[in-house]
């Protein structure tokens, strides 16, 4: 692994480390020289020379590896031979799993745990990766038919991911094997996107396009000299084009989300702050619809792991829906509560409106793409039919759940359950 460049760098680091480790004796030496200088009145050159000798003594003994207190330094000094497989696995950015002759997992690096979850040492690999091509890959490896092999492996649920998996045996007669997963989701997504676009979007884009084409025809023909009609038609055409633009925006953000299948770890989002800014940004819309937004936030810190921009979009879409479709209720309540059930502690964000509600038979379906409870109402409210689909997608990536309660005539409540780790 280590090439010449890094080796040289390693040597420079070792020298610096040695100097640092012996900083106290060095300092003492300098002070001693200075004291002697003060008493005996030697020339300045002698002092410099003595200093140089001290530093050289600290750096020199090159063959002898210094006992370092830090493990990392020890690994570096003792070279590739003693390099721990665990460190090496951790340094690989792709998911990597080391397994033994009985297909039991020996070690999985952090990327593998993040990608597949629920991987513990000792677990059987063939129980976890059940796809037929993975099974035959493992069987071939363990039977010793091949020294290395690779297959394409696709996980469709919960989020689609495609990998090029290569397996090979490690070293000579170690009885250990390694699986490396190369993420190819992006290339696959581009393919899928094209097919999806033709299937879904072309139909949705055709409707406004047909209406624009119709109005242009009218404007050039019968309505050529009718300024009032022209003004009205141009207004409709403008509405239709902006609807198409919104649709394209939504489609793009949906496919962008599907492009990057799993989340980076370690970032935290303050829900209080996020919801405050969502409410502020939707203030004008709420006012326009005559809706008052009320807040009911729990005390204490309300942070969850996640991506700020994505969660912002979730709450924005939900609150926008509440303001638009729950308009008749006159108010919308946004609440944050902590839910401390034993199995999955988390934070619930509920957005409740008091509008007409959603009939029961539509509830399971409303997160589907382009599914609309009431087509006419959705069109007049400038909906694209993708808002909740985007919400669902983002929440899946966050390991979060969306539950929907609604009763006709009483309004609807959308609850987002975000797990805290």
């Amino acid at each position: 692994m280590a090439d010449i460049g890094t080796e040289r760098k390693g040597k420079a680091q070792a020298v610096a480390m040695r100097l640092w480790n012996s900083r106290w004796p060095l300092a003492a030496g300098f002070v001693a020289v200075l004291i002697v200088y003060g008493f005996a009145g030697m020339s300045g050159y002698v002092v410099l020379l003595a200093g140089a000798v001290l530093v050289a003594a600290a750096i020199l003994p090159p063959g002898v590896a210094r006992q370092s207190t830090e493990n990392a330094a020890a690994v570096e000094a003792s070279g590739l031979q003693q390099l721990s497989g665990e460190y090496l696995a951790a340094a690989v950015a792709d998911p990597l799993i080391i397994f033994d002759r009985s297909a039991a997992i020996v070690h999985a690096n952090a990327a593998a745990v993040a990608a597949f979850g629920g991987i513990a040492p000792g677990m059987s690999l063939s129980l976890k990766f059940r796809a037929p091509e993975m099974q035959s890959l493992l069987d071939n490896m363990l039977a010793g038919n091949v020294a290395s092999d690779s297959v394409d492996y696709i996980e469709r649920l919960p989020v689609e991911r495609a990998y090029r998996v290569s397996a090979s045996s490690v070293g000579h007669a170690t009885d250990l094997y390694v699986l490396v997963f190369k993420d190819q989701s992006e290339a696959r997504r581009i393919d899928r996107m094209r097919a999806d676009f033709i299937a879904n979007a072309s139909h949705e884009l055709r409707t406004p396009l047909a209406s624009i084409a119709g109005f242009i025809e009218t404007l050039r023909g019968p309505a050529r000299n009718d300024p009032a009609a022209r003004e009205q038609f141009l207004q409709i055409m403008q509405n239709q084009t902006s609807r198409m633009a919104r649709l394209i925006d939504d489609l793009l953000s949906l496919s962008r989300l599907e492009m990057k299948p799993y989340l980076k770890l370690g970032t935290e989002v303050d829900l209080r702050q996020a919801l405050d800014s969502v409410i502020d940004s939707l203030g004008p819309l709420a006012k326009e619809n005559g809706v008052v937004i009320e807040r009911d936030f729990a005390e204490g810190p309300l942070a969850v792991p996640g991506d700020r921009d994505e969660l912002f979009q979730v709450f924005e879409n939900l609150l926008e829906n509440a303001c638009k479709y729950g308009q008749s209720g006159g108010r919308v309540v946004v609440s944050i509560t902590r839910s401390d059930s034993d199995t999955e502690p988390g934070i619930d964000v509920t957005i409740r409106d008091f509008g007409p509600g959603i009939p029961e038979e539509h509830i399971p379906r409303i997160t589907e793409r382009f599914y609309r409870v009431d087509v006419e109402n959705s069109r007049t409210q400038k909906g694209t039919g993708l808002g909740l689909s985007i919400v669902k997608h983002i929440l899946t990536r966050h390991n979060a759940r969306l539950s929907i309660w609604s009763e006709v005539g009483k309004g609807a409540a959308f609850t987002v359950h975000l797990p805290v780790r």
Binding site: M123, R156, L157, P158, T343, P364
Partner: protein
Amino acid sequence: MQSVHIVSAYDEELKYLSKRIAAMGGHAERMVEQAVAALVNADPGLAQKVIRDDLVLDEGQREIDDKAIIIIAKRQPMATDLREIVGAIRISADLERVGDLGKNVAKRVVAVADGRQPSSLFRGLEALANLALTQLKEVLDVYASRSVEKIGFVRDRDDQIDAMYTSLFRELLTYMMEDPRNITPCTHLLFCAKNIERIGDHATNIAETIYYIVTGDQMPADRPKGDKTDKIILPATQPAK
């Protein structure tokens, strides 16, 4: 995972059983996935492949049955081992049924593909299939990790599947009432939806078996209420919209 036996061949046999179950599970997942893909994309070639693949599952179930009976006869297993073996027999039967249901969906592809249906008809079915497949995947993941404390999700998702099925049933009935030419494809799609809903039920059964294998207790019996399609009656004339 399991304590070690004095006869290491016994351990090997038990391991082999669970490995075969996992392989069957992988096949069943793949079959359902491909059957639904064949239906949505009107792909009779893929449907034929699914129908052929069912043999693998039938074979798998027979093999697991044989092996399990031989182990019981030879080793006289007790406690966890016995539950493990009996559980394997039950899970393999459930998986074999899942494969049959997938095969039945695949068989209907030709009938549905005859007149090209609007894609909105399939979108609901696809969503239902995704729910059922997620259920199956998570249940089989629990079989691998033996973390039964995570099994609560099964009930939640069963409710979701039932609600989705009920909604789909209603939608398909509406299409049939709109235009009698829709009746043939929609009836086939109704059966497909029913099959997929049954796949979810089999996944729930498997979850209960796993719970029993690991804990030795039956899973607490608060079974969900099931779907509500038995109560759906649409008015004879389509309401004006």
